[in-house]
């Protein structure tokens, strides 16, 4: 094993980028529209240089410090960078050049340092006065040929809470997008539960199905244009909606209706749905692979700056389109004949059958529309954040949480619950690190059940 020849440069590329997570209401936070901002923090405003390769055989930490609040990013000079080993002993230090780059030499042959961990620290004293770093150090482990990009989010130093509120606003946008998609999934799940009593564990797979269909349509060579604009992905989302509706019909016709005919109990059906979930999830992976995928369009778009927050066009479209879909769905439930019949079946199946409502037909329509909504949610989710074969399964627990939080089987409860859960998952990252955001939402579910077991909008019903 001579993976490292002594002449070879083994360099760890470390990008220290100043990311202003909060644009801030303060004057210097957002560059003025004219571009020649007079209040920019770095007067030199030299564009941030890319890191150059360097040909000696020493092991080095190389990187750059850029202020990402500016566009293009500008270099931050004269920042002191210290590299320490695991015992906290400094092993090297450097200062950023006018172009923002820095190089820290490490002692010894490169092979000695492989696999070791070093802490790279930014000296806060030397940062520009109006920045307030949230993290000033990162641990990096040397692995061969492995470039690593590290971000140091730095907010404005301004009057404390302004940053917090803009951050909250920014997160609410993401939360709204997520809530709308969650609500579409939750509405279908709740309607199916209300009319058939089935807690459908394969509902997540209906969501994934939509994302996969949209992806498959997107993959067909050629593009679809309307008036010169490329609308392939939009077309794919529409197709996903339609095909998912058909998938829901197929689900009901081939599996659930025969089971209802046989008089299978709801717990047995729940376990059948678990089997279906495992079956479909592996079928998806069989055909789509295990990697995360993105659609051909809109995977990276430049956001608009509206005041202090950033909003991408696709986020706005998903929010508006999703809201409209939910509005249409709930209006249909509230005002049309079939919608009223659906609510009647959910309320009391036997009674609605005796008043002449065709219960089987209602349930079939619920399956079709529930699956269509779920598929649409999946396709839009794939549009906003990409997808893989188990995106729906990962989401399933949050959909359950929304439905139970609002009250199992209620329509407005499912939507209310979805908005609470969706906003909560995103906003909780203000207080805890992002890896706990699902944990927080699920904890809320358990706590609400402790005090209000029937859910927020559910009817109290004593069992036991």
């Amino acid at each position: 094993m001579h993976a490292v020849s002594p002449r070879r440069l083994v360099a760890l590329v470390l990008l220290l980028a100043f990311l202003a997570t909060a644009g801030g209401g303060t004057a210097h936070a957002v560059s003025s529209p004219e571009g020649e901002g007079t209040t920019t923090p770095a007067p030199a405003a030299e564009p941030c240089a890319t890191i150059r390769d360097n040909d000696d055989d020493k092991l080095q930490v190389i990187g750059r410090v850029c202020d990402r609040r500016e566009r293009p990013q500008v270099a931050v000079p004269d920042v002191r960078i210290v590299v320490e080993d695991t015992e906290g002993e400094p092993v090297g230090e450097s200062t950023t050049e006018p172009d923002g780059t820095f190089v820290v030499d490490l002692e010894g042959e490169s092979i000695d340092n492989l696999g070791m961990t070093f802490t790279v620290k930014v000296d806060e004293e030397t940062l520009p006065e109006d920045t307030k770093p949230e993290i000033t150090e990162r641990d990096v482990t040397f692995n061969l040929d492995r470039d690593q990009s590290v971000t140091f989010p730095i907010g404005d130093a301004g009057p404390g809470s302004a940053g917090f509120w803009t951050q909250a606003l920014q997160l609410s946008i993401g939360g709204l997008v997520f809530s709308v998609l969650l609500a579409m999934g939750a509405l279908g799940l709740s309607m199916i539960f209300g009319t058939t009593g089935l807690t459908n564990f394969s509902h997540g797979e209906l969501i994934t199905f939509g994302a996969l269909v949209a992806f498959a349509v997107d993959r067909i060579p050629g593009q679809i244009s309307v008036g010169g604009a490329d609308v392939t992905v939009i077309f794919a989302v529409v197709v996903a909606f339609a095909v998912s509706a058909g998938f829901g019909w197929l689900n009901d016709m081939t599996l659930w209706r025969p089971l209802r005919r046989r008089g299978t109990g709801v717990i047995a059906m729940m376990i059948v749905s678990i089997g279906l979930s495992i079956f479909l999830r592996n079928i998806y992976q069989y055909f789509a692979g295990a990697n995360a995928q993105n659609y051909s369009q809109y995977s990276a778009v430049t956001p608009w700056e509206i005041g202090p927050v950033l909003l991408t066009p696709k986020e706005l479209i998903v929010i508006l389109f999703g809201m409209a879909t939910l509005l249409v769905a709930t209006s249909l439930l509230a005002y049309t004949r079939i919608g009223k019949a659906t609510r009647a079946v959910a309320d009391n199946t036997a009674l609605s059958a005796s008043t002449g409502i065709n219960v089987e037909r209602v349930i079939n329509i619920v399956w079709i529309s529930g699956a269509a909504l779920a598929g649409l949610a999946g396709a839009l989710l794939g549009l906003t954040q990409g997808f893989d074969y188990q995106i729906g399964f990962k989401l399933l627990l949050l959909v359950f949480a929304s439905v139970v939080l609002g009250g199992l089987g209620t329509i407005w409860g499912a939507i209310t619950g979805a908005f609470i859960i969706g906003l909560l998952t995103e906003l909780s990252t203000l207080f805890v690190s992002a890896e706990f955001k699902f944990v927080g939402a699920l904890l809320v579910l358990i706590i609400v059940l402790l005090f209000r077991p029937q859910g927020l909008l559910g009817k109290a019903q004593r069992v036991g």
Binding site: G197, T199, L397, E435, F436, V439, L445, L450, P453, V463
Partner: protein, 332 residues
């Protein structure tokens, strides 16, 4: 196709430590679901609480594994109470959703990078197995030549594991023929009737949840001992679903149902896995690569598993040894 290696590897899995783990988990689910009618979908959470406590106490505070096990069982009981208090008065599916959510909370918290200093993050923990290895009485391979062979450590884990299974089955058998067990079974059949006899249904359900959780906890401990390490990936949601499949194959509400289920489940899963692996491997595979490659072949057993679980539940919900009348339970 090498039928002999297919047979031996399947037999080794069916008797090996993994089957023990699922057998213990399914015994716990049998108490929950089979006898009491409780839908616990968070058995992986119970396993993780005890397994992680034992290992973490050993690696962080240098406790002995026995002491860690004792604390782990205490935490398991606490966990059962936290889940049971809000949900056992509600309809059956509330318990299902809360338990599956709680298991995921435990898994994501213990696997978080934030606590990697203590729990090792996604990599989990290792280096606790020394004391257990030191008391291993076996020094050579054990097995029937030509059928199955186990290394000295594996056979030691199996000895401990199958002894635990035997003890658990004995406990379940004795409890379920006692008056206490008859109350549990009647709760499954008709809660209101039991309540009319003056029994505190809530309290009985809670006791059943704790008892089944403890069997799950033993499965978690065995997971740590089997792999000589413990990590969040061992306790994914699917673990609970597989344990349900094990239980339903053997037959719910039967003392030896989980044992038969675990043997059959792991034999079939391994046989299917090996079959498709061999059918797609080599230079001239049985199944051409444009239909199925090696990655896809590894999924086939789960596709069959899902299909099997559906068909089993539809056509033979009582499993192999169960009694159909005993599974007439319905959600309330």
């Amino acid at each position: 196709m090498d039928w002999h290696s297919l047979l031996t590897s399947s037999l080794e899995q069916a008797l090996g430590p993994t089957a023990v783990i699922y057998c213990l988990a399914a015994i716990g689910l049998n108490v929950h679901f089979g006898y009491t009618g409780l839908l616990n979908f968070g058995q992986a959470g119970f396993m993780m609480v005890c397994g992680y406590t034992m290992v973490a106490m050993a690696t962080i505070f240098d406790w002995s594994l026995w002491l860690g096990l004792a604390l782990g069982l205490v935490f398991t009981v606490v966990f059962a109470f936290i889940l049971g208090v809000p949900t056992l008065r509600l309809r059956a599916d509330y318990l299902a959703i809360v338990t599956i959510a709680a298991a995921e909370i435990v898994r994501q918290t213990a696997g978080a990078a934030k606590f990697s200093e203590y729990f090792g993050g996604q990599d989990g923990m290792t280096g606790f197995i020394g004391p257990f290895r030191a008391v291993n009485p076996y020094s050579s391979e054990v097995g029937i030549p030509g059928l199955f062979m186990f290394g000295p450590y594996t056979i030691w884990v199996m000895t401990v594991g199958w002894s635990l299974v035997a003890a658990s089955c004995l406990v379940v058998w004795m409890l379920m023929r006692s008056p206490w067990g008859r109350v549990l079974k009647s709760i499954r059949e008709d809660e209101d009737a039991v309540r009319s006899l003056g029994k505190n249904v809530y309290s009985y359900k809670m006791q059943a949840l704790v008892l089944g959780g403890i069997f799950g906890a033993l499965a978690g401990v065995m997971t740590g001992l089997r792999s000589a390490s413990i990590g969040p990936s061992f306790f994914a949601t699917d673990v609970t679903f597989f344990a349900y499949t094990v239980l339903l194959i053997g037959g719910a509400a039967r003392v030896l149902g989980p044992v038969a289920g675990a043997l059959i489940f792991w034999f079939l899963i391994t046989a299917l896995g090996t079959f498709f692996e061999q059918a797609t491997g080599g230079t001239d595979p049985l199944i051409p690569a444009w239909i199925m490659d090696a990655n896809q072949a590894s999924l086939m057993r789960f596709i069959f598993l899902g299909l099997g679980l559906m068909l089993l539940m539809i056509f033979r919900p009582q499993g192999i040894f169960g009694d159909r009348r005993e599974l007439a339970l319905d959600a309330r």
